[in-house]
Amino acid sequence: MPDAIPVDSVGLVTPQTIHFSQPLQLSCGQILEEYDLVIETYGQLNEQRNNGVLICHALSGHHHAAGYHCMDDKKPGWWDNFIGPGKPLDTNKFFIVSLNNLGGCHGSTGPVSSNPKTGKLYGPDFPIITVEDWVESQVRLSDHLGIDQWAAIVGGSLGGMQALHWSITHPDRLRHALVIASAPKLSAQNIAFNEVARQAIMSDENFRNGRYLEENTLPRNGLGLARMVGHITYLSDDAMGEKFGRELKNKEFSFDYGVQFQIESYLRYQGANFSGLFDANTYLLMTRALDYFDPASRFDDDLAKAMAKAKAKFLLVSFTTDWRFSPARSHEMVNALLHAGKDVSYLEVDAPQGHDAFLMNIPRYVNCVSGYMQRVANECGEKQ
């Protein structure tokens, strides 16, 4: 817990639940009759209502992006180093909205919610949600908040895909898109890793076809394993080598299959910890949403064509050691934006941390987002 709330923190925050009763048509063909979205907001919406910044989360993220829920919290929100007074996403200038996406397991309607039709938990019956569906639900959220146009929509990884999709399907509703450590679609290798994660979950004997909660159990091993695989793809070889190397827990080999290398211990800890905090059905859903994302597919597989209607200005950032969504994946998006004649800036940050770098306090990255957002803030003041 923080002894005192740091001065550059948004402080204690309280999530809000917003109920939507207008049915939402989903990509899979099903209709979600009603749903809740949990959000947190930081900063104040100005009189012109033009300083809104929407934060879209990645695979395992949620609405709690900054500040603390109570003084007993061990850690602040997941992007606290970017959000706060004087930080790159400056709460003195912007009204920042962070939500838990549909299908999530942190309060927004998802597999762990009860189905109003049956009164039972959705579990595996919760429809698969796509990035497009998320964007549509976020549009409803914008309407609810009275924000016609976001100053910026910001996201890393899967969050970046949402920002990109917004710019394609709702070009008038954002002025800037910050797409960080992201990709315009998954590669076969990306999908392969997702499939390993899903198989790990679904082959756990406690998965029970996704009805584990009804049967008072949890597929902990499977979800833990899925997280372990995921975690490997978030780190670079260098970062892992630097952190763990071939270090052993004890001095000598024990010639068995227990935990001997530090990296094993770390991965098992990460897996076990995550499996107690996250829902397996949500994990399946999020990985599928990633697999399906491919906005160019509706435009003859031509991403430049997909971007043609976008009106936002773009900032793309990639990290040199990210091999999950490598700089080459950002180049695909940058090139499409160039061909489409859009305003775009692109930064390739030298960072050893791999994909996880997008969450971290890397000076060049922080300064760039700060500098960019400062201009976005100035525009908010100029626009009437």
Binding site: L315, H331, V334, N335, L338, H339, G341, D343, V344, S345, Y346, L347, E348, R364, N367, C368, G371, Y372, Q374, R375
Partner: protein, 198 residues
């Protein structure tokens, strides 16, 4: 800095409302001013992190990209003018970048320091050493400038490549193209500014 003069010449040569690609765009001032004064649009390319940051703070579109790797990200003839100020001498393959400039742009504007300037010649002939001056402050073994040339050398390259020189201007340290630089450009000029097309 003598290099600022070339920027003001470049600005004069660029048409209103045109689409510009600025290779090694530095802190983005040229693109920023051209957008303000001539309503141009376009992008800068840079590899220096401080310069990229300056561009972002100015609101100039900047792409982190090493131009020695080519301009494969751009389609043929997608810009009115491609500019490259004071970077030719720092490239691995200046002749290939020149080709690329005129592939993606209809016209190119190139500026570079003249190694045939009398100061360089004097330095080399009297001291027998590679010139080091305020304008070229690096030692020969540790310098970004790996391909120095003279105006004559550059014009040879243009002839070889069958490029048309639309305009050229030679300026000296005082940043003027006076009678001396007009009469003896390869001896008196410090910075060359060439406007070329294919």
């Amino acid at each position: 800095m003598a290099s600022r003069v070339d920027l003001s010449v470049i600005s004069r040569w660029i048409k209103e409302d045109s689409r510009i690609l600025d290779l090694a765009c530095g802190d983005g001032k040229l693109l920023h001013d051209l957008a303000r004064d001539k309503n141009i649009s376009g992008y800068g390319m840079e590899i220096n992190p401080q310069n990229i940051q300056a561009c972002i703070e100015r609101g100039v579109n900047v792409l982190e990209h090493n131009i020695d790797q080519g301009l494969g990200n751009f389609t043929d003839q997608s810009f009115d003018t491609v500019v490259m100020a004071q970077a030719l001498q720092a490239l691995q393959f200046p002749h290939l970048v020149l080709d690329e400039m005129l592939r993606v742009g209809r016209e190119g504007i190139v500026t570079f320091p003249n190694f045939g300037h009398w100061r360089c010649r004097l330095h080399l002939s009297t001291k027998g050493r590679m010139p080091v001056s305020k304008f070229m402050p690096y030692t020969w073994y540790d310098t970004p400038n790996i391909h120095f040339c003279t105006f004559k050398d550059f014009e040879d390259l243009c002839r070889q490549k069958k490029l048309t020189i639309l305009n050229r201007l030679v300026v000296d340290r005082a940043n003027k193209g006076d009678w001396k630089t007009r009469l003896l450009p390869n001896l008196m000029g410090e910075v060359a500014i060439y406007h070329v097309t294919r």
